[in-house]
Symmetry: C2
Subunit: 345 residues, 2 copies
DNA sequence: TTTGGTTACGAAATCGTTGTAGTGTTAATA
DNA sequence: TATTAACACTACAACGATTTCGTAACCAAA
């Protein structure tokens, strides 16, 4: 049985297409008995209007395009689940595009979706894009009247709605707690500075130390190359972190800018025969499964990913439905939350 | 600047719409200089054909609908990444629908996408659907000429392409290895039987024991209620597993049907003062981040999620492009791989 | 001059839907 | 009896693209 269309119903019942359309919309123009007949037929054969035709007619797709760097990633999936929740609520569909942290893929993916498939974007730019500082694709889509909401990894130069995490403050809170718990040699394991969130978290670490009058010791700052995040280079990552921990025996606390770094550090510490949290306290960033199931369970800075996704989706849908794509744009800053578990005192 | 259409180009250059269309497709019907002019204009103003219009015309969307029970889930995202890879390669887009393990949401999500938005489904049914044994929505979409590829949680009663994991064999391999390593009291932590994969893994456990001549001891089989998988009931899950471990002091190996159960069991074992793998070996199922970052790193049965996604996408795209929605259907069974890490001897 | 064949383009149908603007019939009003 | 209004429906254009068919203009061969 092929898909039912208005045309087929019209032929079957020997009325015009318009009559069928109006009858199904319960228009007063159509006589009661005709309406009944058409509705019954439609129901019986389970007629559902064709979305594509509607999208073309209305020039609205009720679809949101979400572009993320990676999908096998706890934080991003949490955000998606928030987006999906609101989208579902408001009758929208979600298309996912993956950039795989590549600028090219980000551009082609956006280009593809921008041609009528969606009503707006929710996106977190790839590392590659941050590195190249090439944002022409973002500017162009906005210029073409397509609204964008950026999240987490936002670009200051681009004028659009944004939902970001207060990374700096989150890091500051974490490091201050470490200090208050009696630590004085707090190390940080972070990324290179071109990764925006890494930079911000590093800034939070430094400002926490400064505000507490603790001198900054460059030796306690480990900036890991981005390439080490590949599955293939896991060994290298391990090595770097292990030797960092061994070299700096005075460390009494570690702040890591993600779960992976934190867990690897915990391992290194334990292998070095020190106990967590008694000898060394550890805090991570991002509240994922790793933190919860680590031994000891990792104290971490939660980013409220789901709430972030919800906010982003609401902002975007609001713009779409109000047909308002002009400034002013909002930037929502979500506060982080320090989740105390067993890796701190 | 609004989106450019063929019509606008035609008006601007004072030719007909057909001429523009043909010129851009480099049709020999159009004169060289006219073609040049039109192409230059289109390029300058970055014309891209409207996907929705094309979809309507061709009655093909080049879009795949993926319905999964959950997105914050390592296995499913791995599968998606595989699907996405092939989709990208073949010029397809991916729409994600989440069922949240609910039958209702599965049905409404599928209904929504089935109305012209996609060319076919790749899906893993919700637990709720498995429990209710109500598959009318699957039958109906197939009847309407929409191809479906099921993965992982497949329904035997539904005739369509399937890509599944050899859960039983995977479990058998894991348990046999435990036995070969000298274990004799192997416990299993599994789900209730209405969860298909749980059931299969339990069957594998039992068959491994039988084939090795080890008597089955019902006391060593822990079936956990599905409700315990909720974040909210994490305590209850912990409790159940901990008391199971304590109650059965004779256990010398544990096979858990997922990472969460495995990690929780590891914790319970360690808290009980026993060492892994010396006193008790532990094996999990699903090769996620948890296994890799656990201490000790968890030996696990990998399902090759990415490959599964790739296979599923290829099967679906093949059907779509060959316009062949009829039997025979294929069932691809993916072999699992035992990844030896530190939690076994 | 007539016929035929290129060349270079345009008109119109189509995909499935919606909404506006008719249209034919009947009944009520002036 | 002529006008008008209400009713119940249909025709048509539009959304943006493709594609088949048609045709005007030109040149060459008969």
């Amino acid at each position: 049985m092929q898909k039912l269309t208005l045309k087929k119903i019209a032929q079957e019942l020997e009325v015009s297409i318009s009559t069928v359309s109006k009858a199904l919309k319960d228009s007063p123009e159509i006589g009661e008995d005709t309406k009944e007949k058409i509705k019954a037929f439609a129901k019986l054969y389970n007629y559902k209007p064709n979305n594509i035709a509607l999208s073309l007619k209305n020039r609205k797709t009720r679809t949101l395009g979400v572009i993320i760097p990676e999908i096998v990633h706890h934080f991003f999936t949490t955000v998606i689940s928030g987006i999906e929740e609101v989208a579902e609520e408001m009758g929208y569909t979600v298309i996912i595009g993956l950039s795989n942290e590549s600028f090219e893929k980000e551009v082609t993916n956006m280009d593809k979706l921008a041609n009528g498939s969606i009503d707006g974007f929710i996106l977190s730019v790839s590392k590659d894009t941050q590195l190249r500082q090439d944002f022409h694709h973002l500017k162009e889509t906005i210029d073409q009247g397509m609204p964008i909401v950026m999240f987490d990894r936002a670009i200051p130069e681009i004028d659009c709605d944004k939902v970001i995490v207060d990374d700096e403050e989150g890091a500051r809170k974490a490091v201050k707690m470490l200090l208050e718990n009696g630590a004085s040699k707090v190390a940080i394991i972070t990324t290179e500075d071109h990764i925006n969130v890494g930079k911000l978290r590093t800034a939070g670490y430094i400002s926490a130390l400064e505000q507490s009058g603790v001198p900054i010791n460059e030796a306690l700052i480990l900036k890991l190359k981005d390439a080490y995040n590949d599955e293939a280079n896991l060994d290298k990552l391990n090595q770097e972190i292990h030797s960092f921990v061994l070299k700096n025996a005075q460390i009494d606390a570690i702040f890591a800018v993600n779960e992976k770094y934190a867990l690897t550090a915990m391992r290194a510490v334990q292998l070095a025969g020190k106990s967590i949290p008694d000898d060394i306290q550890v805090v991570g960033f991002t509240d994922g499964v790793l933190s919860r199931f680590a031994t000891p369970a990792l104290t971490t800075v939660s980013q409220h990913g789901k709430e972030l996704g919800r906010k982003a989706a609401r902002l975007l849908i609001d713009r779409i439905e109000k047909d308002n794509f002009d400034p002013p744009f909002t930037t929502v800053v979500l506060e982080t939350e320090l989740i105390q578990r067993e890796s701190t005192r």
